[in-house]
Amino acid sequence: MKSVCRFLLGCGALLLGLTVCAGQTFAKEKYIVASDCTWPPMEFLNDQKQVQGYSTDFIRAVAEAVGIEVEVRNIAWDGIFGGVATGQYDIVASSTTITEERKKQFDFTDPYFEVHQAVIVPAGKQVSTLADLKGKKVGGQIATTGIFVMRNAKVDCELKEYDDVGLAIQDLVGGRIDAVICDDPVAMYYVNMKKDYAGKLNLSFKTEDKELYGFTIKKGREDLLKKLNEGIAKVKAAGLDKEFAKKWMGQ
Amino acid sequence: MTANDPPMTPGAGVPNDAPIISVRNIWKFFGNLPALQDVSLDVRAGERLVLIGPSGSGKSTFLRAINRLEEVDRGQILVKGQNIMSRENNINLIRRDLGMVFQQFNLFPHKTVLQNVSMAPLKLLKLSRDEAEDRALALLKKVGISDKANVYPAMLSGGQQQRVAIARALAMQPSIMLFDEPTSALDPEMVGEVLDVMVNLAEEGMTMLCVTHEMGFARTVADRLIFMADGQIVESGQPEALFTAPRHPRLKQFLNQIL
């Protein structure tokens, strides 16, 4: 009898919970944002395991500007696009470079940041072009533009695709690979701001081609796209983007 | 060691009429239960001993102690003057001189009959394959099973398997044969063929220690009959004397039960 009571009570509590949740959703439109938090300082976890970084601040500011609510979740990069395609979350805010190939599958907002690819080598070493990496072991994060750039450059090197760029940097320091290619803010973060690697790394050069970050959404969500673009414009107009850049990259 | 060396050399200074096996006051415990209590026995070369007794009397344990398949807890066992418990003597060399036949045959199922018999001479005595196989075939002929040389043991009857097992033990040319209830696992109609082989062996003068329930065999073959009960040798002597005039009440009771 007791257990039946407890069960009913449990059901009641669950129902109540559901109702409250539903109520909140109706009150303010809420969107789930996915970020791969292995990409400092753009999006990464602080000591309290909360998502922080430039992209995170940016998407929150956009949400505030257009009156929507966002909840940022940490999602592994490998598969992050699959989740947005199947609707597990609405927006990818994860330093995603807008590429032609990606645009075939997803919609992108207007750009919110501009980067170049940067090549990191151990301190004391120097390379100045991608071609210099011939015969070397080059690491990067799997399915990132750094890897694509290396591949398209058709340099005869051994490409090592890591689950996150931090592991690649770790292997660079450990001597397993000769270079790491990634977005320049990330490269600068590891070379200049990460204490463990102080003096061990050298940001050797950046590519000429610029890449633009956009927020990624599933194709066909015109209203959400419109809203986000509106927000991006407002944030830029208010100069918040420069504030964030200063906060996270010290520029 | 090379093929020409004898399987083992007798200890120095042992006179020719010394017992080939000398068991001195051995004790064996399984947990707290004594399986052998202060057993002593001398066996002379060429002697044929049959051990009888109720199950659990320690007769199998005693037999297995002689080639150290059971380690005794106290006492001494000398085989051809060599202490089998001593670290100085290689038990593997001593065992070559002690052929053993088991109740359950224990043929190697993954080897053919010929391989079962030739394996030990081939690997231990380092005979050539031809020599080892010739020796094996001669022994198989002796036990009357040479036509089955190339089959696997699983295709043989129990009696045939046991005869192969005897041939396998003989292949090392031991001077002593130990039989541990060799016919107990056989169907009645197969007991005869195995006993025939054993009788032939006895007639050739092989030193034999045989644990068995076959009283007919004991009566005709044994030089000495040993009756064991409760881990001790209760009575021993000429088989005829023991069968016709048992002195110990345990032996009388035992004979009444089985005869």
Binding site: D78 | F30, N106, P153
Partner: protein, 267 residues
């Protein structure tokens, strides 16, 4: 004589990990779970390839070098794990308390740590002392892990051989080691082979984990392909079918080997 292990281990071999179900060598019917799975997998893969060459042809063309890496890691790991398993199994039944303790402790520790953690551990933790490549550390980690699992298989297989076999060999004058290698192991191998084959198949499947160490195996090639094309469903369909076909073929191979080892059954 008290033999605490005997009842527990006699004849029944515990499957420690999940490999694949090894087909029964006596199964002779044309239609069974194995043939349906294999025919199905091949038909689906061929069908996709023929009727929808884009993107399936691209995917299939992208994977082979990853397949080579997967095979390479699996075969190298088997070469180390099987002897290690044999040593461990022998150690576990050793009368030498020291050796027994070492083997048992090794099995205890390894079985309590997920393979993924072991892979990371060996790759990153050991890199403090020695730098080994991703493939090498993958082989080391997988061998150590599966050596422990196989050790249990070997131990059970060896314990399942009747004591009489050992006694017969010892009574002829064979040493402990000769008895093990000439009499016990050749027989135990038959009991051991299916579960060891099973472990090897489980191992092949577990090599998919090495993609986290930037080793370009089938799985990483697939992830890399997905990373450029975003064809999640299509790519992983192909990957699943490829793994399935490989493991089905391997399980059949183990089954055939098993039936070869049954030659002395007298049937």
């Amino acid at each position: 004589m008290p033999e605490p292990d005997e009842n527990h281990s006699k004849g029944n071999i515990v499957l420690v990990t999940d490999g694949a179900s090894i087909p029964d060598p006596r199964e002779w019917r044309l239609i069974n779970a194995w043939s349906i799975s294999l025919a199905g997998a091949i038909c689906v893969l061929a069908g996709l390839f023929l009727f929808s060459p884009d993107p399936y042809e691209r995917i299939v063309r992208y994977l082979p070098d990853g397949m080579l890496v997967t095979f390479k890691i699996t075969i190298m790991s088997i070469c180390f794990a099987v002897p290690l398993g044999l040593l461990t199994g022998l150690g576990r039944i050793s009368r030498n308390r020291g050796i027994n303790l070492i083997a048992s402790t090794y099995v205890e520790i390894i079985r309590g740590i997920p393979l993924l953690v072991q892979l990371f551990y060996i790759y990153y933790a050991l890199s403090r002392f020695v730098t080994v490549s991703g493939t090498t550390s993958a082989v080391i980690a997988i061998s150590i892990c599966y050596g422990a699992y196989m050790g249990e298989v070997f131990r059970a297989g060896i314990s399942a051989i009747p004591k009489g076999q050992t006694e017969a060999a010892r009574s002829l004058g064979f040493s402990r080691v000769q008895t093990m290698f000439l009499v016990v192991l050749p027989q135990a191998w038959r009991t051991i082979l299916p579960p060891v084959g099973n472990e090897c198949i489980a191992m092949l499947k577990d090599t998919a984990l090495v993609s986290i160490m930037a080793v370009p195996d089938i799985m990483q090639r697939a992830r890399s392909f997905v990373g450029t094309t975003y064809l999640y469903f299509e790519t992983y369909t192909v990957v699943a079918l490829v793994y399935l076909i490989i493991t089905l073929l391997l399980s059949k191979a183990v089954s055939i080997m098993e039936s070869r080892l049954n030659y002395y059954d007298g049937k």
